[in-house]
């Protein structure tokens, strides 16, 4: 498992450093070409987002990982004309299984600033694509990245890591969908116009909300806002008359007292004949009497309630992240196992060839003494030889595949190599790679 990752992220470096090492799409094509010329690196992928810049490489087997790490650091410095000493404080390096784990975690959004955010997987896919275009993607990294995509997909499918809203405006829109299901065809009324209300309205509109009514104490504000959302402005004193017709109310006026009291709300609910309504009160001081929440089919959330939803959402994400980490570990183990099986296979082939050749050779020597045999008897002897080879192979094959940990696997493979006097490896490069890792 010969992989190395060198990079920096929001965990290790401030934005001033990250921005120096951020590469645009065009730049990546250019620096990839440069990466190719770095000695000892056969395959490489460059991932650059606003929160991280990482270089993932599959180095040549005869180059020690420490040397590879240094070369990548120098390469990064050269790209941006930085001093290595300046960068060393912020860079981290992962080697072998550590690198694989890191990549799995990054792709699954476990290493993101906002754990569970969905963009990172797309960014990793972009990096993979760009590496392919600049011909820096070989079979080893391709296999690894494909696996990382599958892990990310599995994490997303089997945990709720990305399920909960993490901002107040998004939480508001999310709650609305829990009441109304699809927001398509719903109508919203905005009372007053704050920045947060604006953001929440945008979320609702993306969700499919059909009509927007805007009421503001200053009518031209209402007109301005309504124009932006393709909505209808109404004068503030008439907002009560419009309430029976809307589904969601976004309230953010600067009024010092409640603009909707319990009595009015009761009357409103009678008029609505049980149709639910959702009040999002993000004004401070509050616009809507909190007692209204007691009424059936009326759902009222103030800014603190929304914040609470966001907080539990974040907590949930952290809890789900534990599940996700377990998935990553499981996948890492199975990736290592497959990697070991791949490493072992040339040895198994060599061993089988060797045993078979020996058996045939011996058979040829003794065959003459047996005298003439019928074709059926010949076949039986062939069968016996084959069966003997398989029986002898069984134990060593199993041990090579099963050996726990890459260290143990290598020891078993080397032992087999020596014990059976296997001289010419089917792929000598693969062999040296093994002893290098």
């Amino acid at each position: 498992m010969s992989f190395v990752i060198v990079g920096l992220s929001h965990r290790t470096s401030p934005v001033e450093v990250r921005e120096k090492l951020a590469f645009s799409r065009e730049e990546i094509a250019e620096v990839s070409a440069r990466l190719r010329s770095v000695a000892g690196i056969e395959e490489g992928v460059i991932l650059s987002t606003c929160n991280r810049t990482e270089v993932l490489v599959a180095p040549r087997a005869d180059v020690p990982h420490e040397v590879v790490v240094e070369r990548i650091r120098d390469f990064l410095c050269a790209c941006r004309e930085l001093e290595p000493a300046e960068l060393d404080r912020y860079l981290y390096a992962h080697r072998g299984p550590e690198a694989v784990r890191h990549l799995f975690r990054v792709a699954s959004s476990l290493d993101s600033m906002m754990v569970g955010e969905p963009q990172i997987l797309g960014q990793v896919k972009d990096a993979w694509n760009q590496a392919m275009q600049s011909e820096m993607l070989g079979p080893r990294l391709d296999q690894l990245l494909q696996r990382a995509f599958a892990v990310a997909k599995r994490v997303r499918a089997s945990t709720q890591i990305a399920r909960n809203p993490v901002s107040i405006s998004y939480a508001a829109a999310d709650l609305a969908t829990r009441i109304f299901g699809s927001l398509a065809g719903r109508s919203v009324m905005m009372l007053g116009a704050g920045k947060m209300a604006d953001l929440a309205a945008r979320h609702l509109i993306t969700g499919g909300v059909r009509s927007v009514t805007v009421a503001s104490r200053t009518f031209h504000h209402a007109q301005e806002l309504a124009a932006r959302y393709n909505g209808v402005p109404v004068t503030f004193d008439r907002f009560l008359q419009h309430l029976p017709k809307v589904d969601i109310v976004l309230s953010s006026t600067t009024s010092p007292h409640y603009i909707l009291g319990l009595d009015e709300a009761q009357r409103l609910m009678r008029q609505r004949r049980g149709r639910p309504i959702f009040f999002i009160d993000i004004a401070v001081p509050r616009d809507i009497d909190p007692a209204c929440n007691k009424l059936d089919n009326l759902y009222l959330y103030d800014i603190d309630d929304l914040q609470k939803v966001v907080d539990t959402g974040l907590e949930d994400r952290r809890r789900e992240a534990v599940l996700a980490e377990a998935i990553v570990e499981e996948e890492l183990t199975s990736f290592q196992a497959r990697d070991r099986a791949r490493e072992a296979s040339p040895t198994i082939v060599a061993l089988r060839e060797k045993l078979r050749a020996t058996a045939r050779e011996e058979l040829r020597r003794y065959r003459g003494r047996l005298g003439p045999l019928s074709p059926k008897q010949e076949a039986v002897i062939d069968e016996m030889v084959e069966s003997l080879v398989n029986k002898v192979l069984h134990g060593p094959t199993r041990e090579m595949k099963r050996a726990a940990g890459p260290e143990a696997a290598r020891r078993v493979i080397d032992l087999v190599w020596r014990m059976f006097d296997l001289e010419e490896a089917p792929d000598s490069r693969e062999r040296s790679e093994r002893s290098e890792t």
Partner: protein
Amino acid sequence: MTTQWSGILLATALAFYLLGAVASVYVFLSRRKEWIPVIPGLTIAGFLIHFAGIALRGMEERAFPANDLREILFLLAWAAISVYLFAHFRLRIEIMGLLILPLVVALMLATLLIPRQPQASGPAAGLESAVRMLHIVPAILGISALFLTFAASIIYLVQEHALKSHRPVPFFARLPSLEKCERLGHQSLTWGFSLLSFVVLTGVISAGYGAREEEWSVILREKWSLLAWLIFAVVMYDRIFSGGWRGRKAAYLSILGFGVMILRMIGV
């Protein structure tokens, strides 16, 4: 004894449902989403065996297998499972398994407690049998529709409580929206109520036939189903005409009506 084979099949089906119910509780508690497909998988296996069991029972008796309460409960459980599968695959309300499967298991276990009625009269024949079929088939269809109403009402209440209390509970996110529960509850109730109305009517007629033997218990039973019918009638009336009892109250009433009806079925 020939009847044993259908019994074995039905018991096997019960075992599958039990496993399905356990799996849904496990998924609920552990939040392992990747395990969800196991639940309908087990249920479908049980469902097919269940069907074979009912069919075999029918062949053994050479009659529609609804001659005693046990058989009716087996039929009902089967109908409830088809409702669950519909909710799972068609409506994509995966949480339904958690509500319906344990109920089905309870129903089928209840059949073990009911003593096998000696079939003195044998399968009913002639006009009486026809009236009975007219009673039982729509009853089973109606009650299975009401299973959905019941489950939708419970989900509604859980979701509503979570929204009202401003405290998202675990699994909150995976529950269907209030609107979806409302719609499902209303649609299934419309079906269930219409069929139940028909059943109450035919029930009165067939009670007239059966009154000779066990007069009191039959009349008492019909009183219970009349009560269930009245409760559902209130919910229906309100949904159609005033709307004031939509939501929470309608959900509570639907659950109450369903409870009364099931108790009446088992014959408490």
